[in-house]
Each structure stands twice: as C-alpha cells, then as structure tokens.
Amino acid sequence: MAVIRGKQLDLTKVRPYGDSINDGALQLSFTLPIPLTPEAVEAARQMAQKLGLRDPSVVHSQDLGGFSFFIVYGHTDRSVDMTQIQVPKVEGKVFSRPEADQEIRRRFGRLLVVVGACIGTDAHTVGIDAIMNMKGYKGHYGLERYVMIDARNLGAQVPPEALLDYAIKHRADAMLVSQVVTEKGFHRQNLSRMVELVEASGIRDHMILICGGPRIEHKLALELGYDAGFGRGTYAEHVASFIIDKMTERGLT
C-alpha cells in the first residue's frame, strides 16, 4: 500500500483521495427537475451539502430544456472503516479446463450434469452462452468444451418452472441461472422465485445452485439462497471450479 511519507493512512478512517491524503475529494453529477436559474445552481450546491460535502463547487450547469444538469466537485469528511469490512468471496483454487476435467474424474468418476438458462422474460443469452457454450468468451472455452461436463444451455426467456423440470429430468448436479435485466429489481424477483421452486421440489440439497449476471454479486446471491453468484469477468473455469469444490464440500458424489 502506498503511504505518503510523513502522512500515515488510518485504515479505520479511509476517505476519498483527490490529490492529497484525506482531502476527501469527489465528483458528483445529477439532474434537478427545475429549470436552470441561479437558484437552481444554489439548490445543486445545497444538495451536495446535504450529501455531506463541504465547500461543494458547482463546476458545470446546463439547462436541459426545463430541467437542469449539474457537475459538482467537493470534499467530504466522512470515512469508511476498512478494518470492519468483510466481503464474502468465492474462495478456492481456480482449475484450468484440463485440471477441472481431471479433478472431476478423480473425485466423482463420472460426467457432471450442468443445466443453465436466462430465466423469466429476460432475453439476454450472451452472458450464459459465455459460460456454457463451446465457444466461450474472450478465449476461455465454455463448459460444453469440458470432457467431464455435460452442459445443457436452455438459452433465454426460460420460465423458472421449465428450467426446474429440465434439471430434475436430467438429474442436474448444478443449475446456472442468468439475470441481466435488473430494472426495478426484476432480477431479484426472478431469482427468488427460482430458489423457492427448487426448494419446494426437494432437490436443493443435491444440487449446486448458482446465479450470475453483470449486476449480480456473490453477497446478494448468498442472501437469496444461492451457493454462489458471479458477476462481470466470470469465465467457465471459475464456475466449474466452484461446482467441483462445493460438491466435494457437501459430500455429493
């Protein structure tokens, strides 16, 4: 960690950094639903103050044809205690594809069945395809390419019920649920519904339940009742490795 000579960083009080330690500098932009006037600029300044900025400076304002847009710079005295932060993380080693195949052979001695889909009315397949399809994503092959994984990607707009039926029918070891549209909390509803269905069906204990999407965090996934959640930058190997480890941990065979 970079510490500036003579100025010690206090990890219990971490503040934004503009150009010197603890200056608390930050940038803000927003619109107010009022036309641009000197009073609106003052309102923007006060808004920034309400957000705990001292000496906020409204550096830009634009009338949007009835509403007004502002860019503000300011400084805050508020701080975060880093020593109290704990973030649940997907832990464990990430196996390469050949390693993963080998581990599956060694630990389970059989093909693992992984089913996946983007559920609800969400039509975004690219994310789940990136994880599951042969081609993969950014040079990382998908689960279909794994010798020891029987990967079945149902695509998008799949009703949760249909995904569950399919998983039961094919005795899935893991279920992958993708959600990309998050507007108005859409994804939470869909993801919760999926968990409820899986739990009601009685197969929850025998199956690894994973969700993913650009706005999915592991923490949220745990809260919703999933075993893990994967966000941006996930590749098939992360998912495969997690399934292998989690199955072992749970004593699934």
Binding site: G65, G66, F69, T121, D129, R232
Partner: protein, 517 residues
C-alpha cells in the same frame, strides 16, 4: 471518402439477395396470419378493448380463427353493416357472446368487399392526411441535417417519456424513439390505452403513440424543426403496429425481416408474412423502417461477423423492395461494435461504416453505437461515443442512434441522454466537412478489409441461395443463433389462404404504392 468497391460485385450481391427472397415471397403471398388480419381490421377503424383488456381485433380474430384463410375483413365489414353496428359495437357483441359470426356468410361477397374497402379507404385517407401533415411540417419547419440525432426514452410512463422527449428535442435531438416495455414483442396483441408503467420501456399502444406525437408536434413548432417519432413494428404484432403507426404519424419503425426469428424466437414464416404487410403499410405511410442487423454483433463478433451484417442488409433491402418500400425509406442497420481495446479496432469500424454507406448510397442507413463492449466506465463510454459520432459524420451516416455513457447500467437517465446529444452535436459540428478532405489510400488495409467483407457477404449469400433462407437460419448463419423453420412462437397464427381469400387492403396498398413509384 470513397472506397470504390466493384459495382459489378455489388450488383451481383443484390441479384443473389433477390434469388433468396423469391421463394420466401411465394410463401408470404400464400399465407395470412392472426396479425395480418388484425392489422386489416385496425385499418378498417377497429380499436378498443373489452373489459379484460383484450383488444377487439384480437377478439374477432380469435372468434373467427377457423375462417382466417378466407380473409376476415370483408366478412366483419358486412356483418357490422347488416346489423347497423360500428365495428366496435360488433366486436363488443362478440366479446359479450351476444353475437356469433362463426357461420356468418355475407349475402354478396362483392358487396362485402366493397363495404370493407369503403371502411379501409376512410382510414387510408387518414394515413394520407398524416403523410401530408408530415410533409407540411418539414416544409414549414425544416428538419435536422443528417446524421440525424436519434435518442430513446424508456421510462415506462408515457407522460414522463413526453417530458423527456420534449427536453431532448430542445437539446437538439431529431428523432425520439419510445422503447417498448421488456418482452412486448412476445405479446400476441397490442395493449390498449395510455400506460404509465412498464419495465425497461413503455408499452407501444395507439393511445401512447398519439400522446407522444402530439407532444412532439408541439415541441417541433417550439424548436422550429420537425421531430420524428419512432416505435417498433416488430415482434408478434408487426403489421398491427405498422398500421397504428401509419394512423398516428410515426415517422420510423424498427422493422426487420428476421429480427423476431433470431432474437425473439418467433416462428420464421410468421415473421416473413408479417413483415411484408407491415412494410406495405409503412411504404404507404412513408414511414422509414430501421432494420436490426446491429443486434447480430451483440451475439456474434463484430470483426468475424461483419459480412453477415451486409448480407442481411441486402436481404432486408430486397424484402423491403418487394413490399414497395423505396430506398429512401430503408433505414438499413449496422453498428459500431468492434472490441475497442483491440489494436486498430477503429480501422475495422471505419471500413465497415464506409462499406455500408457505399453499398446503400440512397438509403437512410441507421448507425448503432457501441453497446456490447460498454462498461461501467462512463468516461471510456463517452470517449467511445465521441469516436462513434465522429465516424457518423465522417462517413455520412443518416440516422445516428446516440450511444449512452451508461449503456452498461440502465436505460438512459435524463442526463445521460443530454450528454449524448451534447457529444453528437459537438462532433458533427467540429468535423462537419472533414470527409471532403480525405481519401482512402489505394491498396490500403481499409480497402482490402472492405472488399473482403463484401466478398464474404457474397459467398454467404450464395450459400444461402443454395440451401434456402429457412435452412440458413436453422444453421445459425445469422448472429450465431439457430432457429428451425418449424419452431418459434406464433407459428399457430399462420394460416394458408384459401382460394377465395379476400383482403381489399392488400389491393389498395399495392395499387397505391406501385402507383407512386
């Protein structure tokens, strides 16, 4: 900035596209669909919905489902006339199960046809008035200089949309698109009335169209520039929405011959049939269509699949032509979607933008901004959008969909849209006449690349001509997505026309459109 592509090759490509669409066209003409019949009823003047919010056109089509092959319009027209009812009253009766038309036969089929035609002509005149009104606005107020600034509103609440749309116009937008609610394309009906909730967009309804059109007319006068309105004649209700758009003076419609198949898993034949009528209507209403090739590059790689965009544009062009659309209403799509962090990514973008412009010189082509590779880094996004806008004016694009710096996060905030407009205005103005100053070096990579993409498009089209378009789609030749001919939603709405199928709308439109150009 001219690539100087071989005109012979371009001509050849067009010929293959024609060979590809011809067999499809035969199928199109032989069938009707739920939506085609509903669209015809709408153009006869039927709208509204029953107590359960089921639109009357749907009620009649469902009621007469077994007789679709005859063509419902004359039948319904005559039934209403016989009873002295308006179409709406008739439909109300059917919905209340007080009227049963399933065995109804008009006394005189010709008279039924004539009555149907009478009703249609009334609305057709309304469409004509809208065309004239648009022309009047443009004549009187003028319009933006291309590339036109195209922005979307998508709040879910039409009144909130109106506020944002008017502000966008004041900021300099030329075109406002009201994004539809998530999954409306899969509704096999068009919702009714004014709507104030929706996810990721606002329902396309005729009432919403009207509210927005009025608001844009108002702001057009205020800013002294005609502001165009866009919606989606796409999904399971293509021709119906086209009809609504024609009646309410929409100026553009997202409308693609294959998008529904590929991205919405709609039955292929259904889609082909529906797009045909939707385009005939659009041609008559002088609505510019916007095709959806940009979408291919969200599922396939923009470098690898560049030629599929061109091939598809040529197919879309031919389908549009068959429906009577002139080139100046064909907003063929392409996009700026190469992975920006790739070395020389910009060269790929430039080659493609020039290529599409050169192959479609008379078309108001639609240029889509970076979306797939946008991230939460709004500053990077803003810089990419600047390059995109720069390219738009440099290569003379017609319809510039403005990229949003928050593309990776949410449908646009007011400030996102305002910043997008600022960006485009800045770039368009700063590089307004740059193109006149530059040439492409002979034998340069840009030339090679564009020629290669053209060649690959031709090879692809040749292959499609060989196996047929249905098979090509089944093989995943577009967008890396495979759709079998028998699959997809709405296939049950496709019906073979009987020998005595009657639909005066088709006759009128054919007459009108071909009379005109």
């Amino acid at each position: 900035m001219h690539l100087g592509l071989d005109p012979g090759k371009i001509r050849h490509a067009r010929e293959i596209a024609r060979a590809i669409t011809e067999p499809i066209l035969i199928k199109i003409l032989a069938h009707t669909t739920d939506s085609v019949e509903r669209a015809t009823l709408r153009l006869m003047g039927l709208d509204g919905a029953d107590e359960d919010d089921i639109p009357y056109p749907n009620i009649l089509v469902r009621h007469l489902r077994d007789r679709l092959g005859e063509g419902l319009a004359p039948l319904v027209a005559q039934a209403a006339k016989d009873r002295g009812l308006s179409l709406r009253e008739l439909a109300y009766g059917v919905s209340e199960e007080k009227i049963d038309l399933r065995d109804f036969q008009p006394a005189d089929r010709d008279a039924a046809g004539a009555e149907c035609e009478r009703l249609l002509r009334e609305n057709i005149r309304r469409v004509e008035r809208q065309v004239a009104a648009r022309d009047g606005f443009v004549r009187e107020l003028g319009q933006g200089e291309p590339p036109w600034l195209y922005v979307i509103v998508a709040t879910g609440n039409i009144y909130e949309d109106v506020v944002q749309a008017q502000m966008a116009a004041r900021q300099g937008a030329d075109i406002i698109a009201v994004i539809r609610s998530t999954a409306q394309s899969l509704l096999d009906y068009v919702p009714e009335g004014i709507t104030t909730t929706g996810f990721g967009g606002t329902y396309a309804t005729q009432a919403n169209f009207r509210v927005m059109r009025e608001a844009l007319d108002e702001v057009s006068r205020e800013v002294g520039r005609y502001i165009r309105l866009v919606n989606y004649a796409s999904g399971l209700c293509m021709p119906e929405i086209a009809a609504m758009g024609a009646l309410e003076r929409l100026d553009m419609m997202l409308n693609d011959s294959m998008y529904g198949i590929l991205f919405r898993d709609i039955n292929p034949l259904r889609t082909f049939i529906d797009q045909h009528l939707s385009r005939m209507i659009s041609a008559y209403a002088r609505i510019i269509i916007n095709t959806g090739e940009d979408n291919y590059l969200t599922t396939a790689d923009a470098v690898e699949a560049a030629h599929t965009v061109l091939a598809s544009d040529l197919i879309n062009e031919r389908f549009a032509h068959e429906a009577g659309l002139p080139a100046d209403l064909m907003g063929l799509g392409h996009a700026f979607e190469v992975y920006p962090e790739m070395t020389d990514s910009y060269l790929y973008e430039l080659a493609q933008a020039l290529l599409i412009r050169e192959v479609f010189p008379d078309h108001p082509i639609k240029f889509m901004p970076p979306t797939k590779h946008m991230t939460g880094d709004i500053f990077r996004g803003y810089a990419l959008n600047a390059m995109f806008n720069f390219t738009g004016v440099l290569t003379g694009q017609s319809i510039q969909l403005l990229g949003m710096l928050t593309e990776a996060m949410h449908t646009p905030f007011l400030m996102d849209r305002a910043l997008a407009i600022n960006n485009a205005r800045l770039m368009f103005n700063a590089a307004r006449h740059l193109a006149e100053n530059l040439e492409i070096k002979p034998h340069s990579w840009l030339l090679q690349r564009s020629a290669e993409v053209l060649d690959r498009a031709i090879t692809m089209l040749e292959r499609i001509a060989e196996i047929g378009l249905f098979q090509a789609i089944a093989d995943g030749m577009f967008a890396d997505i495979k759709r079998p001919p028998e699959g997809g939603k709405g296939g049950d709405g496709v019906v073979l026309k009987s020998a005595d199928y009657a639909n005066p709308l088709l006759k009128i439109l054919t007459e009108k459109v071909h009379g005109r150009h």
